[in-house]
């Protein structure tokens, strides 16, 4: 391998626990290599803060926990390959070699969204073959379902630029351009595609009205998610989730052409230059591992307005639940669950818990002979309890309900309306965990479930207090009078209401909650 030239542009490089410091008259994209492997890339001036006549680019938060030990650190200009720094460095106080790896020892890097990922430059051809199989499989499934999809975003960029997956990328994206030109029809088509793929056995996670993730189970059992972005042409513009709105002609997409990715022939937009220019701008041929989209506000407003809003605070919950141990939590009921049980005094047939979280209350109630349906949009949180409930063969069913999706609310509401016997709906710290639309849908679901009688029990955080409860539960306090007004506007009668302060276990700190008992009296 030829010796890399020294950098003439980047000078005064210093590396310490804060980050990387360097000077450069011109903007430059730099790769950080630990022991010869790329870990992170950044734009010096865009991502840095002025410091000592140069710039300080702080270590990304996701990388910090690894930075305790020694490494041979090289700083390389991404485009020219020139070396700006090459020396042994010690970070933190550790004496071992720094290893940026996951729990299975597999190498990780920082992707363009500053998240740790198994980037493709850490993977061999053998490793990426299953991904390419998955791409072909999902493209085939989408074709069967009625749309002509193609690799998009970084996946297309890699294919067109060099026939390879991009080293600093970590996932594969697919796109399609609908034959429809109205957002309503584009969304309906996306729903239909989702159903068709679900019928074929794929697990789908919806991102918005026009984008979803398809999970593909690979040969070794690992699950890979491929993102599918819907688009459409209207008013002389191409719109593609999640970043593109640009003047465009139909003949620049259709009929689809071909491109080659890692030796496989795949479909591509007719004019890949126009498509990649629309995606990354006219400089798409110049590699940029730290690329950030600079999507115009008007494009964001349009795509948000038409398609988004179905995942309110979902990422916070996914993050919280990804850190949970696999073992079930202790089945200790909340004071709310005990209160509901006391109020009902054995009259209830079914408890429907909307926003069941880890489903601890649900299992506790199911163990006491109540039929329980737990509903949540982040069902992953209740996986451990679901397994326990299955072992114990108690009457607990955990199902998906997304309050941000009207169709989810309407169908689940209809299913709940068919439940026999007395139904009680519990809503504990949900109203203040969603937005106004989510709350409107929440009360609609409650009303539907209780169309035949029964009661709704609500607990809501009304005052943040001085403990961590609101932050831990991703809540924004909500006045009880707002909840009452919303319920009464839906024809509900508030049977009782009270507010009180509660303390955190083992602490004098606490917060204020409100409780309601509600009926729809007909």
């Amino acid at each position: 391998m030829p010796e890399a030239p020294p950098s003439a542009t980047v000078t005064a490089v210093r590396v310490d626990d804060e980050g990387v410091r360097a000077r450069s008259e011109d903007e430059v994209v730099l790769d950080v290599l630990f022991d010869g492997r790329r870990i992170w890339s950044f734009w010096l001036q865009r991502d840095g803060e002025p410091s000592g006549g140069g710039y300080l680019v702080r270590w990304p938060p996701a990388l910090r926990r690894f930075l305790d030990g020694t490494t041979r650190l090289r700083l390389v200009e991404h485009v020219s390959g020139a070396t700006a720094f090459d020396a042994d460095v010690r970070l933190g106080t550790g004496g071992d070699r720094i290893a940026v790896v996951n729990e299975r020892g597999l190498p990780l890097g920082i992707d363009k969204s500053l998240r740790l990922a198994q980037t493709f430059d850490t993977r061999s051809a053998e490793h990426v073959a299953p991904l390419l199989d998955s791409i072909e499989e999902v493209l085939g499934a989408l074709h069967t379902a009625g749309v002509e999809a193609f690799p998009a975003y970084g996946t297309l960029l890699g294919a067109v630029r060099g026939g390879r997956l991009i080293g600093h990328d970590s996932d594969a994206d697919l796109g399609y351009v609908s034959e429809h030109s109205h957002p309503v029809d584009v969304v309906r088509e996306s729903f239909r595609l989702q159903r068709a793929l679900a019928d074929m056995g794929y697990r789908i996670t919806r991102y918005s009205g026009a984008a979803f993730k398809v999970d593909v189970v690979e040969a070794d059992g690992s699950v890979r998610g491929l993102d599918v972005f819907g688009g459409f042409l209207a008013g002389g513009h191409l719109h593609l989730m999640g970043e593109i709105r640009t003047p465009y002609r139909r003949d620049q997409i259709f009929p689809l052409g071909r491109t080659t990715l890692e030796g496989r022939e795949l479909p591509a937009p007719a004019d890949t230059d126009a498509f990649l220019t629309a995606t990354y701008g006219p400089s798409w041929r110049v590699p940029d591992p730290a690329y950030h989209f600079e999507t115009p506000v008007s494009t964001h407003r349009r795509l948000n307005g038409w398609f988004r809003g179905t995942r309110v605070r979902r990422e916070s919950w996914d993050r919280t639940y990804s850190r949970l141990p696999r073992t079930p939590p202790p089945i200790v009921p909340s004071p709310f669950a005990r209160w509901v049980r006391r109020q009902e005094r054995g009259r209830v047939t079914t408890v429907v818990d909307i926003g069941c979280g880890q489903a601890v209350d649900d299992l506790w109630l199911a163990r006491r002979g109540v039929s329980v349906v737990g509903l949540d949009y982040a069902l992953r949180g209740s996986d451990a309890v679901a397994a326990l409930a299955a072992q114990e063969q108690v009457d607990l069913e955990l199902r998906h309900l997304n309050l941000c999706e009207l169709r989810s609310v309407l169908t689940e509401g209809a299913r709940l309306a068919r439940l026999p016997g007395r139904t009680v709906v519990t809503v504990r710290h949900v109203a203040e965990a969603t937005d106004r639309v989510g709350r409107r849908h929440l009360w609609r679901a409650c009303e539907m479930a209780l169309r035949g009688g029964g009661r709704l029990y609500v607990e809501v955080l009304v005052g943040r207090g001085d403990d961590e409860f609101a932050a831990e539960q991703h809540l924004r306090p909500l006045p009880l009078r707002t909840v009452v007004a919303e319920l009464e506007a839906r024809g509900a009668t508030v049977v009782s209401r009270r507010q009180r302060r509660v303390s955190s276990p083992g602490s004098r700190a606490g917060h204020r909650i409100g409780r309601l008992v509600v009926e729809w009296q007909r």
């Binding site: 969304v187 729903f191 989810s408 309407l410």
Partner: protein
């Protein structure tokens, strides 16, 4: 004559002050008008966004109706129950 000169000088000073006040008032009216326009544009943008948000709701509603209305119209209880389950699974 001196008294007339004084009166004239006084009038000039007051005239300039009045002109300044008028200018300030006009600028104020203009800036208030601009502020009002800014607020109006922000309100209009919010209203446009609300209209856009109806697209997703309408699509959802149409999807539910289309998928579930038929068995309801056919009064097919068994099929309706099964359909509610399979529809939920496809979300």
């Amino acid at each position: 004559m001196a008294a007339v000169r004084d009166i004239r000088a006084g009038l000039r000073v007051r005239g300039k002050a009045a002109a300044r006040q008028l200018g300030a008032m006009r600028a104020g009216v203009r800036s208030q008008g601009l502020e009002a326009l800014r607020e109006r544009v922000a309100t209009l943008e919010d209203e446009v966004q609300e209209c856009r948000q109806l697209q997703l709701r309408l699509a959802e509603l149409t999807d539910v109706v289309e998928e579930l209305l038929l068995p309801v119209a056919q009064r097919d209880e068994e099929r309706l129950g099964a359909l509610l389950e399979t529809y939920s699974r496809g979300l």
